[in-house]
Symmetry: C2
Subunit: 772 residues, 2 copies
């Protein structure tokens, strides 16, 4: 079926492009990408180079090409392959292309392209490409590149490793060395700042013809094989390329390991590599797929987001999920709070060991958070707004550029947006609740919780005359309003974090006294500190819904700001690229929001009554500009909860198509490129489906709640959840909620839905009719 933005699908498992659109190079390069959490390879044709945004982003390679800006590196492109027929180079930008098709097969993690090209002088050649980033061995990129001239022709082929890749902020490699090992070619690079060694090794097999000539061509940043074929009409040549990428972060002798992997892969052969890869994908989809019945477009959109969230997430090591995944260098390949609140939930309930790995990453980076706290005059752990390998703050003091003065603006994302720390505590607690993994808490989580509690106590002020603690000078998720006090989202989350630190401390006193003792000693904490947490937890100011209007004020004085709509503000812009927020943007003195903090609060702490949620949704929603890709999914979830079904669906469509339908802003204020995959929106799609439409939540005691609100135009919604080691298949139809506990479950599941509480024995299925 036809989708929007020049896309089609057949089964809901793939997106297909049949017309090439040169205006969307950066978008389609992201959308058609392949990856495996170790590397992301953009969905660009093999003939392309830096100008067309070719990139192979490698996780864990944080390095500064320019001082003060550390980001992931782009590996030299081992899949580069170009050909020319009778001297004319195959291109999507010249000649004529027939039978063009670019496909992302999400079920199998495959990129495919077919094209019949007619050169300017009328020569015709057919090309068929398939590639994947192996899920079995995450260092491997595998490509089959086949071509066939329609009439007899001389075809020149160049293939190898191209160092000319897309660099957003300068060249990371200070050295670039080409080497040849047996039949393999390779390049070894060293990064400028961190001296990371990165090796790319390529192996090649050719079937269907023998080249007339073969040469090796090397330049400072290219290592190529150049071949000439004299081919009959219809004679197909198929290249089998295998590329391995290793860095010194992966262990010693990366070059040797890359060589060995390529040799082994060539031995195994394309068919086997692909089979194993597909098996891995099949396993993932078994736990992760969300099926939508009766709406193929939404099914496709859903899988696109699940797929992108999956390939953005490192499975091989305890590393962060980038705000743009591994789709490009935007946002430095680093984690934000998005990771815990948007990317993590899907793993929490489908593949909890990945959630654990993400949180373990936060544990590993505690020292970075401690350094940041100390540098800013606090103690404990103030997590980085933008967190790379070490957890030290990667976000620059000056991010946006004032387009009117050309001057960099001092934004305060990195020092005022403190909710990141309690957000991580929240995720730790969610993990504990979803898995019951108390060992993780005592071994790692507790240290995070205690250090965040310390940070919060070092940040908070006591207002003696009001008898309460207040958080001053904040930036909440709504980034248009900096320098605010008692941001509701921040205060509630801080209170949550302090409470959980106290709970864990108390439980450890009972269950793990030695670990507790040792931890407190190591952190230098004593009874006074714990008393401070308690006092703060008890007396933090938590803005309450107004008794009459039921409104919760986003921060002190918000309701006194000018009441305006996003449309009003658009009229006030003197330059289309102005930043709307701090310090002097059009939204600052108005009630217009980038995203709604209060709704975000409802989304995470779901103990607010429905009338409060409804009143606040009604108030904040028309004032929200959705300048963040995180905003629609929150709106959709809350809309589902309060019975705003049409709105819930509209926001689902908006949030889930940001990338697929190319609806996102591509540059920020000041002109920096901001494209790439919005991984938080991908994670948010799962939230809208499972927490929104199915109304899933997990109570503190492990009770599973559903409160379904299926969109009108769907016939059903089905997914699998994993809760405390037990599997549950959920199938929501228009008539019923069908729940099936997996055979292998260890314990019965307690489920509340439609006002009933049911207990589901292992293997048992129950059908709960929808409420009238």
């Amino acid at each position: 079926m036809q989708l929007q933005n020049n896309l089609q699908t057949k089964t809901g498992w793939e997106i297909i492009e049949t017309t090439f659109n040169a205006d969307q190079l950066s978008t389609t390069g992201s959308n058609f990408m392949i990856g495996n959490g170790y590397l992301g390879y953009r969905g660009t044709p093999a003939e392309w180079t830096a100008e067309q945004f070719v990139a192979c982003i490698v996780s864990d390679t944080y390095d500064a090409a320019v001082d003060g800006w550390r980001e992931l590196c782009n590996a030299p492109n081992g899949l580069f392959t170009a050909l020319s027929i009778n001297g004319e180079s195959l291109s999507l930008f010249a000649g004529q292309t027939h039978a063009y098709q670019r496909t992302l097969d999400m079920q199998h993690g495959l990129y495919q392209r077919t094209q019949k090209w007619e050169s300017p002088s009328g020569k015709q050649i057919e090309v068929e490409v398939e590639k994947f980033a192996s899920l079995d061995n995450v260092h491997l990129l595998v490509m089959r590149y086949a071509f066939r001239p329609v009439r007899a022709a001389r075809v020149e082929l160049i293939t190898g490793i191209d160092g000319k890749v897309w660099e957003l902020n300068g060249q990371h490699f200070k050295s670039y060395q080409c080497f040849v090992q047996d039949e393999l070619i390779g390049v070894e690079t060293i990064t400028r700042e961190q001296n990371i060694q990165l090796d790319v090794v390529e192996g090649l097999e050719i079937a269907g013809a023998t080249p007339r000539t073969t040469e090796r061509v090397q330049s400072s940043d290219r290592s190529m094989r150049q071949m000439v074929f004299d081919l009959e009409a219809g004679q197909q040549v198929a290249l089998q390329k295998v590329v391995a990428v290793y860095t010194s972060n992966d262990g010693p002798t990366p070059r040797k390991r890359a060589e060995a992997d390529v040799q082994n892969a060539l031995k195994a052969g394309h068919a086997l590599l692909k089979e194993v890869h597909q098996k891995c994908w099949a396993n993932i989809w078994q736990t992760t797929d969300v099926k939508i019945a009766g709406h193929l477009e939404d099914q496709t959109i859903t899988r696109f987001n699940l797929y992108q969230n999956l390939i953005a997430t490192p499975r091989h090591a305890e590393l962060p999920i980038g705000a743009r995944g591994l789709s490009c260098q935007v946002y430095q390949g680093a984690a934000f709070w998005d990771q815990e609140l948007f990317n993590l939930p899907v793993f929490l309930y489908t593949d909890p060991h990945i959630a654990r790995s993400i949180l373990k990453y936060r544990y590993n980076t505690l020292d970075g958070a401690r350094k940041k706290a100390q540098r800013l005059g606090y103690y404990g752990a103030f997590y980085a707004w933008t967190s790379g390998k070490t957890g030290e703050e990667l976000f620059p003091d000056h991010f946006f550029t004032d387009v009117l003065s050309g001057r960099k603006v001092r934004n305060h994302f990195n020092d005022w947006q403190i909710h990141i720390s309690p957000d991580i505590v929240y995720a730790v607690w969610q993990y504990y609740n979803a898995t019951g993994d108390w060992d993780f808490v005592t071994d790692y989580g507790a240290e995070i919780l205690f250090e965040v509690a310390q940070f919060l106590v070092s940040h908070v002020y006591f207002k003696k005359d009001r008898g309460r603690f207040e958080f001053i000078r904040l930036l909440g998720p709504d980034e248009y309003h900096e320098n605010v006090d008692n941001n509701a989202f921040t205060n509630y989350m801080a209170q949550f974090a302090l409470e959980k630190a106290l709970v864990v401390e108390a439980r450890m006193q009972r269950d793990a006294p030695e670990k507790r003792e040792a931890l407190l000693a190591r952190l230098g904490l004593d009874a006074t500190d714990i008393q401070n947490w308690q006092e703060a937890a008890d007396l933090i100011y938590l803005p309450q819904p107004d008794s009459r209007t039921r409104l919760l004020e986003q921060f002190d004085g918000y309701f006194n700001l000018e009441d305006a709509t996003p449309e009003d503000l658009r009229q006030r812009l003197v330059h289309p690229d102005e930043y709307w927020g701090w310090p002097n943007g059009v939204a600052v003195e108005t009630q217009v929001l980038k995203q709604a903090d209060v709704l975000q609060l409802f989304a995470v702490l779901d103990n607010f009554p429905a009338d409060v949620m409804r009143a606040n949704f009604d108030y904040y929603e028309p004032r929200t500009e959705h300048g963040s890709s995180l905003s629609p999914s929150v709106h959709s979830q809350i809309a589902s909860r309060i019975g705003y079904s049409k709105m819930a669906y509209a926001y689902f469509k908006q949030g889930a198509t940001i990338d697929l339908y190319n609806a996102s802003k591509k540059v920020n204020s000041g002109g920096s490129f901001l494209g790439g995959i919005h991984t938080a929106a991908c994670g948010g799609t799962w939230l809208m489906l499972v927490q929104g439409f199915a109304g899933f939540s997990l109570g503190e005691g492990g009770v599973i709640n559903f409160s379904p609100a299926l969109p009108e135009n769907w016939d059903g919604l089905a997914f699998r959840l994993s809760v405390r080691g037990n599997g549950l298949a959920v199938n929501l139809t228009r008539e019923n909620l069908i729940l099936k506990a997996e055979e292998s479950n260890a314990t019965p599941l307690t489920i509340k839905a439609h006002g009933q509480t049911v207990s589901l024995e292992p293997g048992e299925t129950q059908i709960l009719p929808q409420a009238a």
Copy 2:
């Protein structure tokens, strides 16, 4: 002698302009002005109108011509007089002017002008004008306007009341009614917002000739008499004009009172009016003059500043001193902290009842300060940054305009610059110490102190982990750095204010228990409140000088800002009129200051050791841009104290010539007119002389200290001080400090100077040789 800026002096008592400079209309109009604290009449020729910045600013007439901007009104110009000879209008802008002289006689409070004018067609006429704003009856303006044609001529004269006066921000009068009463003419106006009735009545006498014809000419905003004289060669006609200005704020029937005053004044005649007026001036100068021996220019400069401070200051009622006095409508004719810290000290030690009146004004406006506190979520008294009649905040939320976007900027002068409240407490305490007027304290001062203490307690935050109170989100005197914490000046002043509230409360408990009881009851205060003051006073964070560098940090984190000089920043401007401060000006992220808070702190709380003062002067001075007219006098005072004699003198010259030598910025960022007399710099001149060069200070017990540092090129400095009802003549020469107690003193004076302590009996003179 010749001064700078096209000025001369003869005796040091006058400034004389002998060449007319059309480029300096606004400056000379201010510099040559006359006034008496009730009204200020700009030093503009009688023939001029609005285009030449004619204004007669009347105190106490705060009114909004445009919504949200309340300022003093400009009365219709009762002195307007123009003439033409044989049809050609006398003008400074046409024909030729010979023997031009404009004089401000500061000794006698007189404006004089002589001019021999040759018309374009060669007609010649001599004009001699003298006018004054009576100090005896502050409602009266008196002018003698004499003219004499060189050859026989027909001279047409028009004189009366001209409503076309300079309005900075729109027309204040919604009605304008001309009337005639006997021989008098008048206009009665009603202001737009406050419905203030303002009456201007004019009386005229003519000597030397009888007009051939006389007509009355009235238009909507002009009431004129038009006369034609046929004059012989050399025949002089002298007009005697008397104008009275009354408003409904002065009492009932302002029109009747104005008519009566004019009638009486005409009866008394010019000579007598002038004699009484001059006697008043003589009395003032007797207590206020500061004599400089050996430097006529500095003598003149000094008197100019004393004069302007005197005429800016209301003596007739408890009203504020405007930041531009009564010289124009800039800064709304309202008081800032300048009043207490720059204008008030001269009165404190020369004419304490005026100091009392100023402080009584602050008492009268406590309700405005209470309202402001409440509106911003505090309690107690948060004094207005810009204070008019009621003490409600007159400063707009948006003052500057971002010249690049054309958008108004939200400045935080009105809500973050809290030091205004403790500054007023400081002045109350200074008044009490200088006068011993305990009744004022118990009747009025205590209420100010207690309410400010309440405000401070409602503003301050307790930082539990540091065990101290902190002030958060401040704007100090250095207005380039908004949103700072623990601004040293603010914190110290707040601590001072709290301490004095406690001292007064304790003394009242002993000396005035009933008044105390009644006051506390009225304010709703109890022991808990007083305990809160004590706790805050004890635990307010007071930044201390670094043990090694001796530097005191202006606010938290200041030393981490980029180190730059004002010159560096000038290079970074993308538009010459950019505001340097909040939110995104060039100074914000640097150490460049508008004025130095730490030096300002030393200037008021003089208990910092000399090495600390020196280290901080050395550090802050090169980083200070002196964007405020308050800055040079502070620098001069501290330079005097630490032995930086040359710098002290250079800053004296800079601070004392801001207006006279036309060195001030005339427009702000966004283009609003900012000219007029900088009254704080006028008051600051006295501070530089008496507290700086003579090193005068008054110890808490009433001990008078001198620590002289006479500028190298002066022979002497002499002035009179009044301390607790006793007079002291101080004469500082190169060799000696000569001190003479007045005969009428009630008690001996204790004086410390040059390491000696002397006691001076009434009438006694002592000569203390200068230290070697």
